[in-house]
Every structure is written in structure tokens, then in C-alpha cells.
């Protein structure tokens, strides 16, 4: 969705001292701080997922035939066979541990969303600055290509091209299988994501070009790259930060949606989306298949959004609470 507006609004002219102001504002926002802590925890959990699984004694790949019925393959016990051995129950038909799958899913989800965000921000910033500063034909060309990209039904394109492009990646030397698939996800998300940020940045740059310090720099005969990245970039971090913090959660959701539609990681690995897709066949009997990954996913996204909001408000009190 056209997140641009809200972010553009949220982007005040960044003064040097703003950094501290923002931090202090965020620090005084209890909700934001709680979320920040949760996020850090989530990242730690993701990073140390294998270790944690060992400690709890669960394994996302181990098939536990004993935990499922021999006829129909339904998990034995309520709520998907929740037991001491399987705190969140087991998968229908295979007896794989749900908790372990969640932890590893979190890992993949965060990996994709985070890297995609980083790339998006990089692309958006650089292209935005260039197009805003260079103006003229460059600007026009970039503008057109943005229109082009934004006009694509990106979900459809991503789905349609996943197969072939993943193969291309492997043929380009990326290890076959999940590495290529994950990379594909990261790339497509970034490719369809950068224009929004680029537009914002471009706008900022346009307004900034006329500013004294830039003109001064030009007058002093500074070289363009220097002006771009020494004078202008430092003053863009505010909108960029806001955009990044609000984009990450949308990427998490999108990634889930994509793997729900079946272009996620390959088995035996799994992800939130895949788990939810799998739950469809069983949830009228085993609702927990639906609730557990779903709730985790929502919590993840909400937490990110809360932090994003806090940052935005900190940067732009007008948009936030008085």
C-alpha cells in the first residue's frame, strides 16, 4: 500500500541534534522500549534457535511416528498432541515438533525480512539521492522505471517467476535449494520495495538541494559524490529510519504470504506461511496448527510496527500523541 504518504509526513527536516532527541523520546516511551526488548530477544532466539532446540530437546526434522495415529496420521492427544516432549504439539502425518519448526521458521522469516529491508533501504536511498540530485534525464528515466515497477501486480509476478529465477540464481553459483530460494525472496522484496523509499528520499533531496549548506558546499567546489553523501545523506537518516522500521514488518508479513502460497523454503525446512498453509487441511480438527504460527506471526509484526511507530512519532510529534 502507498505507505509513502505517512512516511513523507513523518519525515521532518533532520537536524544534527535530532538524533539524541529521538532516542530520548523513544526511551521515555514504555511501550516502544518493551517492544524493542522483545525484538532483541526474538533476534537472539532466531540466531540461537538450534541451540535452544537442543536445550529443550526438540528437533524440527525428527519424525516421531509414535506421536501420530497409524490410521489417518492424526497427532495423538489434544491440541495437536501437546506433551512434555512436544510443548506445542506435532505435525499431522509426520510427528515433527511444532515448537522447533516455529523457532526455525522465525529464523528464516527474520533473515529474509531483515536483509530485504537493508537492501531496499540501500537501493531506495542511493537511487533516490541520485535521481533527486541529478534531475533532468536521469531523474526522468528513474521516475519512469519506478512507475513501471509500481504498476506491476508484484505478487503475481513473484509467484510466476519464482521457479525460473530461483534456477537462474543457482546457475549463477548460488547454492541450489534454500539458499537460492531465500535469496530470491530477498531480492524480489527489495526490487519491488525500493521505489517507495526512493520517492521519499528524492523529495527530501529536492528540497535540500536549495539549502544553504549544500549551496555552500557547491560554491566551495565540492565534488558531487561528496555533496551527495557527505552533505545530503546525513540529513536523510530520519525518513530512512522511519521507512526501514515500518517496512521490516510488512516484509515479514509478505514473506509469510508468499510461503503460504507455496514459494517459500523447501522441505524439510519450513516457515510460518508454510505452516499456516499446512494447517488449512487440518484446522477444523486441530486448531492449534492455525493459532500457534498465526499468533506468533502477528505478535512479531505488531511488535515491529509499534517500534516503527514510536520512532516515527519521536521524529515527528505531530503525527503521534501530543
Amino acid at each position: 500500500m502507498a505507505i509513502t504518504e505517512s512516511v513523507a509526513k513523518a519525515a521532518p527536516v533532520a537536524g544534527r541534534s535530532l538524533r539524541q532527541v529521538v532516542w530520548s523520546r523513544v526511551r521515555h516511551d514504555k511501550v516502544a522500549m518493551t517492544c524493542l526488548v522483545i525484538l532483541i530477544l526474538l533476534y537472539l532466539i532466531a540466531i540461537f534457535a538450534p541451540l535452544i532446540c537442543k536445550v529443550i530437546g526438540v528437533d524440527p526434522y525428527a519424525f516421531d511416528g509414535a506421536s501420530i495415529s497409524d490410521s489417518g496420521g492424526a497427532p495423538i492427544g489434544d491440541w495437536g498432541g501437546i506433551s512434555r516432549a512436544h510443548p506445542l504439539g506435532v505435525e499431522w502425518g509426520t510427528g515433527r515438533d511444532i515448537l522447533a519448526q516455529l523457532l526455525f521458521g522465525l529464523r528464516i522469516s527474520l533473515l529474509i525480512a531483515t536483509s530485504a529491508t537493508i537492501i531496499t533501504v540501500f537501493l531506495g536511498t542511493v537511487i533516490g539521492i541520485v535521481s533527486g540530485y541529478a534531475g533532468g534525464r536521469t531523474d526522468a528515466v528513474i521516475g519512469r522505471s519506478m512507475d513501471l515497477i509500481l504498476a506491476f501486480p508484484f505478487l503475481l509476478i513473484i509467484l510466476a517467476l519464482s521457479g525460473v529465477l530461483t534456477q537462474r540464481l543457482s546457475s549463477l553459483g548460488v547454492p541450489e535449494g534454500n539458499p537460492s530460494r531465500i535469496l530470491y525472496m530477498i531480492l524480489v522484496l527489495s526490487v519491488f520495495g525500493w521505489p517507495y523509499l526512493a520517492r521519499i528520499v528524492r523529495g527530501q533531496v529536492l528540497s535540500m538541494r536549495e539549502r544553504e549548506y549544500v549551496e555552500a558546499a557547491i560554491a566551495m567546489g565540492a565534488r558531487t559524490p561528496r555533496i551527495l553523501f557527505r552533505e545530503i545523506l546525513p540529513n536523510l537518516w530520519a525518513p530512512i529510519l522511519v521507512y526501514a522500521t515500518l517496512t521490516l514488518p510488512t516484509y515479514i508479513a509478505t514473506e509469510a504470504a508468499l510461503s503460504f502460497l507455496g514459494i517459500g523454503v523447501l522441505p524439510p525446512d519450513t516457515s510460518f506461511g508454510a505452516m499456516l498453509a499446512n494447517s488449512v487441511s487440518y484446522f477444523s480438527v486441530v486448531p492449534s496448527y492455525l493459532f500457534i504460527p498465526g499468533v506468533v506471526l502477528v505478535v512479531l509484526v505488531v511488535t515491529f510496527n509499534l517500534v516503527g511507530d514510536a520512532v516515527r512519532d519521536a521524529l515527528d510529534p505531530r503525527s503521534g500523541r501530543v
Binding site: 500500500m1 503475481l156 509469510a256 502477528v298 509484526v301 509499534l306 511507530d309
Partner: protein, 330 residues
């Protein structure tokens, strides 16, 4: 003004041309061989070759593209040399051998459902989003504002396929409040239509509503700080008029812009929702075609959707000019 529109339309066509070319090149690298797909298990290389030729797949990509373009304007004939050539009259978006149907017709069949879905959701989210946004803005800082915004944030964070599944699980399976969704056109069975559409509408609307609520609130807060609002108050206008007329009108413009584009995007089909609720719209058509590697259909949908968005861009700009006299077209 009119010259502006002409210029815009021209650049629009150019963009579409470019887009169609990109789409063509993108899909020309797909691995599955449509010719292979048209021939069953008893298949010899000769047959595949023959089919490939009949579908014009043995031509170089750019020639295929040219054929496609020509088809758009003068229509085209497939398998011309076979006993039963397939005529696809202009504008010919291509022909799905998989489904034995013209792409345009397939899309036309799906469009009503998708339009109903999109429009319904649109109404829901605009009403909810704007009213709540205005409310929050007026009550800014109060606990009401905070609650509304909080709810909005959660709504904004709910993946639509998850709430979709939740809705199916609770409302349909557990509580039997609604029958299983099965699409019927409103004119045939209004009740069944509503029963089928209500959930998709709401679920599709939630995400957007949350977004528009935030957008509206920000807009209103900004506008309410404007001098001319103070002027309006100084005139002695009742607060109702000040908010409902002066402030809203000024705050609405960017919202209209976003809404136009989002609606256009939805007309391209809401893949997830349509699939979840098995609505025979463009989105379902798209996903099925992807699964079947039904290239002509995918290309067709991509182009149609893109057209919607690009046209919407133009309309929105014109609208913008209509709303804000300061905007000069050209």
C-alpha cells in the same frame, strides 16, 4: 488541460508498451514449455514441435511480441494452417490453449467478481478508515485516540490470509454463522451473494482501513493546524462545519490519491482472499494460471492489472486537480 490529458495518455500508452515488453521478456524465460503442456502423456518430440509451431512458440521472442501487439489491434489467428484455425478477434490478449479460451474472455469472466470484491471492500475501508481517522484526530491525545490508533496498528499488522483463515475457522466452521462461501452474482441470489462476500469484504478492508485511519488522522492533524481553519472558526462557523467541510476537504486530497491507486491495484485481483474464499475472480484465475504455467493468461492479467494502475494514476491526478484549485495541470 486537454493537451495535458493527451500528453498524459500518450506517455501512459508508452509506459504500457514498455511494460508489456518487459512482461514478455520476463516470461519468455519460463522453463515450462507450453507446447509440452498442450500434449498429454503419449507425446513425441514431433508432436511437441508441431504444437510449438502452431502456437507460434518457435518464433523469436520479439516476433512473438510483435504478433501479440498486432493481435491487440487487428486480432490474430492461431494454428492458421490447421483444419480448424482459432480466431481471436481484436483486441486479442492472447489465447489459452490450456483452457481453450481467449484470455480476454477469461479475464472478462473473472472481472465482475473481482470488481464486486474490490468495491465492497473499498466502501468498508474508506468509511471505517476516514471516520475513525477523523475521530482520532479530533480527540487527539485522549485515551480514545490512543485506543483507536492501537486497534489500527494491530489491524495494520494482521496478515490477511491469517485473519481469513481465522474467519473461516470460527465464523464458518465452528459457529456456522455463515455458509461456506460459494460465489453467486448478486442479481441471481442477493442473499447468497452477501453471505459469500461479507467476510472477504471485511477481511480485505481491515488492512486498508487501518492504513487509511492512520493516514486520515495525520492529514487532519496537519490541516487542523492551518491558519484558514482558525479563520473559519473566527467566522463563527460551528465546529461541525469547520471539521466536516473546511478541514476534511483539505485533508482528503492525499487520501483520494492513495485510495485511487489501491482500488486499482485490487481490481487486478486479490489473490489470497479470492483463493481463500474460492471467489472466481482475477486473483483466482491468476493463481490457477501460475500453477498451470498458462503463460498467455498470466501475461494478460499482468497487463490488464498494470493498465488499471496506470490509468488510475491519471484519473487520480485529474481528480487531484479537481479537488485542489491550486494544482495546475500541464
Amino acid at each position: 488541460m486537454s493537451s495535458y490529458v493527451v500528453r498524459r495518455v500518450l506517455s501512459m500508452l508508452l509506459l504500457l508498451l514498455l511494460l508489456s515488453l518487459v512482461v514478455f521478456i520476463l516470461f519468455s524465460i519460463l522453463p515450462t514449455d507450453p507446447a509440452r503442456l498442450t500434449c498429454g502423456k503419449s507425446c513425441t518430440p514431433e508432436i511437441i514441435e508441431a504444437n510449438r509451431h502452431r502456437l507460434g512458440l518457435d518464433l523469436p521472442v520479439f516476433q512473438q511480441y510483435w504478433e501479440f501487439l498486432k493481435g491487440l489491434f487487428v486480432g490474430r489467428t492461431y494454428a492458421a494452417n490447421s483444419p480448424d484455425p482459432i480466431n481471436c478477434s481484436a483486441p486479442c490478449l492472447g489465447y489459452s490453449f490450456r483452457r481453450g479460451e481467449e484470455v480476454l474472455i477469461l479475464i472478462k469472466d473473472g472481472l465482475p467478481t473481482t470488481i464486486w470484491l474490490a468495491l465492497g471492500a473499498f466502501v468498508f475501508w474508506m468509511v471505517a478508515g476516514i471516520s475513525l481517522g477523523v475521530y482520532a484526530a479530533i480527540r487527539r491525545g485522549t485515551w480514545r485516540d490512543k485506543t483507536v490508533m492501537g486497534v489500527g496498528l494491530v489491524g495494520y499488522s494482521l496478515p490477511s490470509f491469517f485473519i481469513g483463515l481465522l474467519a473461516i475457522f470460527f465464523i464458518i466452521i465452528k459457529w456456522n454463522l455463515l455458509p461456506y462461501p460459494s460465489w453467486v452474482p448478486p442479481q441471481e441470489d442477493p442473499v447468497g451473494f452477501l453471505q459469500t462476500m461479507i467476510l472477504p469484504w471485511i477481511i480485505l478492508a481491515i488492512l486498508y482501513a487501518a492504513f487509511y485511519m492512520r493516514l486520515t488522522r495525520n492529514q487532519m492533524l496537519e490541516v487542523l493546524g492551518e491558519d484558514y481553519i482558525r479563520t473559519a472558526r473566527a467566522k463563527g462557523l460551528p465546529e461541525r462545519t469547520v471539521i466536516g467541510k473546511h478541514a476534511l476537504r483539505a485533508g482528503l486530497t492525499p487520501i483520494v490519491t492513495a485510495a485511487g491507486l489501491d482500488l486499482a491495484g485490487l481490481l487486478g485481483g486479490a489473490i489470497i482472499i479470492e483463493s481463500l474464499f474460492s471467489l472466481p475472480g482475477i486473483g483466482s484465475l491468476a493463481i490457477t494460471s501460475v500453477n498451470d504455467a498458462d503463460l498467455p493468461v498470466i501475461v494478460g492479467i499482468t497487463l490488464v492489472t498494470a493498465t488499471f494502475i496506470i490509468v488510475a494514476n491519471l484519473i487520480v491526478d485529474l481528480l487531484y486537480a479537481a479537488i485542489d484549485p491550486r494544482v495546475r495541470l500541464g
